[in-house]
Symmetry: C2
Amino acid sequence: MTGGLTMWAARALSRALRAYCTSAPCPRPSQLPRVSIRDALVSQNPRGENMKVQGWVRSVRSQKEVLFLHINDGSSLEHLQIVADPSLDSCDLTFGCSVEVQGVLVKSPYKKQNVELKADKIEVIGHCDPKTFPFKYKERYPLQYIRQYPHLRCRTNALASILRVRSEATDAIHSFFKPSSKVKKQGKNFFGVPAFLTVSAQLHLEVMSGAFTQVFTFGPTFRAENSQSRRHLAEFYMVEAEMSFVESLQDIMQVMETLFKSTTEAVLSNCPEDVELLHKFIAPGQKDKLEQMLKNKFLIISYTEAVEILKKASQNFTFTPKWGVDLQTEHEKYLVEYCGNIPVFVINYPFDLKPFYMRDNEDEPQHTVAAVDLLVPGVGELFGGSLREERFHLLQQRLARLGLTDTYQWYLDLRRFGSVPHGGFGMGFERYLQCILGVHNIKDVIPFPRFSHSCLL
Amino acid sequence: MTGGLTMWAARALSRALRAYCTSAPCPRPSQLPRVSIRDALVSQNPRGENMKVQGWVRSVRSQKEVLFLHINDGSSLEHLQIVADPSLDSCDLTFGCSVEVQGVLVKSPYKKQNVELKADKIEVIGHCDPKTFPFKYKERYPLQYIRQYPHLRCRTNALASILRVRSEATDAIHSFFKPSSKVKKQGKNFFGVPAFLTVSAQLHLEVMSGAFTQVFTFGPTFRAENSQSRRHLAEFYMVEAEMSFVESLQDIMQVMETLFKSTTEAVLSNCPEDVELLHKFIAPGQKDKLEQMLKNKFLIISYTEAVEILKKASQNFTFTPKWGVDLQTEHEKYLVEYCGNIPVFVINYPFDLKPFYMRDNEDEPQHTVAAVDLLVPGVGELFGGSLREERFHLLQQRLARLGLTDTYQWYLDLRRFGSVPHGGFGMGFERYLQCILGVHNIKDVIPFPRFSHSCLL
């Protein structure tokens, strides 16, 4: 059993050599199948298969009778144990170097692992001087320390786990919106068309939702916010969805809640070890908090009710809560705690606080729009969404009042020609990862954080 | 059988109403399941199920005895035929308006379709004045005409088909790199971790490939090219992959070829009607060309051989082919035709033409690097890739000569601490779509094209 690329490479080499191929470096003879460490580790009954593995050395223990190595290639949190004759040791074999190991996979006599590789050849591919390498063997560093080394930090367990979780969550989000083609044919397609807009913006999604009833996009978004907060980045990922023919905010909230829960369940089931590591060392207590979020139905309160709750609070806020004013971070935090740390939808915000495209609730005396934010423990606002103003005359009046009629003729056209009730939401992907993993600083859940006045790499 | 969202909405509404919910607009009673047109059309044996469908009217034919409508919701190219009593007609029921139709799905007595909906209620949701709507019933417009209406063009068959193909191709690319979790557990994971870098740049992928052996990213890329070409955009999508422990350019080329072929086969099998429409009306002859590309093994020639071929050509080029100078569009075109319109890898480019990170072949007298471009019919360069210089001293010398040593200390670190032979490639996603569909202008394969001196929406 080999990883996909390996199989391919082997297949490719076994084919007749192509005409004219003169590429360098010259191919080394490579009969042995290359196996990923993840694949090696899941072997239940190794029968002494010959193979090679490649990766980076995580520990070297040279004893009189035996040499132990642990190597990791990023495919799993767990390392593969290599057992070899001490004669295979060399001074180049250090923590951090890259190696290729050939040998046979056998049942391990040790309790800690199921299998191990009995090596007959160990080749150091790339050296690593342990004196200058910024990470030391067996040290556990805080995230803010490894953040100084954005180009090397994915070699640490914590960052590698976060990035595997990020990758699984990305997959899960795609699967949520676009089940595999096979399933789709059985009538389960949810968000049919089309993934990936170049412009990750809700107004453009609205254009698409004028021809396709459910659309989503997932990609980078840029904000010029000059914030040094632990919750803000200049460049972050956003999942956005837009749905036509919706009947109420309920429809939108239902999708938001299911997206959160199904993505999280996929992550928990596909990389339990990574999540466990992070919950254990980075965010003790987070496991229980997450279980609370998953097992309870999310709550719903109106903005007006939220302000009443804040006004009655015994806590002294820096910003006095008042109807018609935006909720501040401290308010969001209080509201989530008030709700027993269960995620809470806050709906129906003041008309004057929100952008022109949100649907007028036509209520009084407190005039609101059909907007919704989802507040979650530890992070605050995770999703924002709304019904959009689909009624031509109401939208036209608002644009006229703002002096935007000319700019938004194209947007008015969407209401002129076959308008439909519609709405949607956006979810900040990094905040989502912070929320489920309990990672305090948003810079630790993205491979290369960009934030104001800083661009390390 | 209902579409995913529909099922959810129904489930959501059937649950007890949540506390505090005061969202507007007020929910309409909605007992009938909402079915996507795609799902309705695939019903083999309709048994008079009651349902509602929603979408946009594509034709209205009112006869004495019967009213025929065709409606489309973007879920498929094919429309659903609605059959109703002429009394349900109204002056609002026009080409382009949005409707909700309730009725029963029955076997159609007409040859053109398998099923039709016998309507007992037709509600016009959003009007559409046929006099001002820029598209007319039954007209087929050239792509450059509909390009004037970026906010409405996805209501045309051609653009909707292109966008469905784009969506399928996006899915297929994700599936290529990340098979579903279920399959993955059986040891088939190809590119494990992590999808989605914020920075879609090869140097950053190299950072990741220093801890994970296969990584990929798929997202928007920005270029300040001041080109009005049919092949350039200021913002386009790029698929990039990086692989550690590769042995030669062969490994990279094998992945490129398999990515192209498996993605295309998935598109052809998942949206055959859309591809057929485009091949028929937009690019006659493209079907055969594509078959040629898929059934032949891609060719490989060296840059040096390419220049020799061009020198011997009887054709007069605007730019005289010469070793050491970049290939021009006219050269690429000639080479692809010379190769019988089979995609061709051109490898081993002059050292002085290529960026510092490409791997030195250390050959002479014609000094080259291990770079590869894939040229394809109709488009020219579709992929670019290379082995990367993994040898510390060679890289250090080149950076020093360029005066870039300080800037790229972090990049040198990757070679200092456990370097591995690695390489990768990038594929322009819009050019890929142009290539398989035969769409001449790149602006027609992306929802919202951004190009120099133009930003319509």
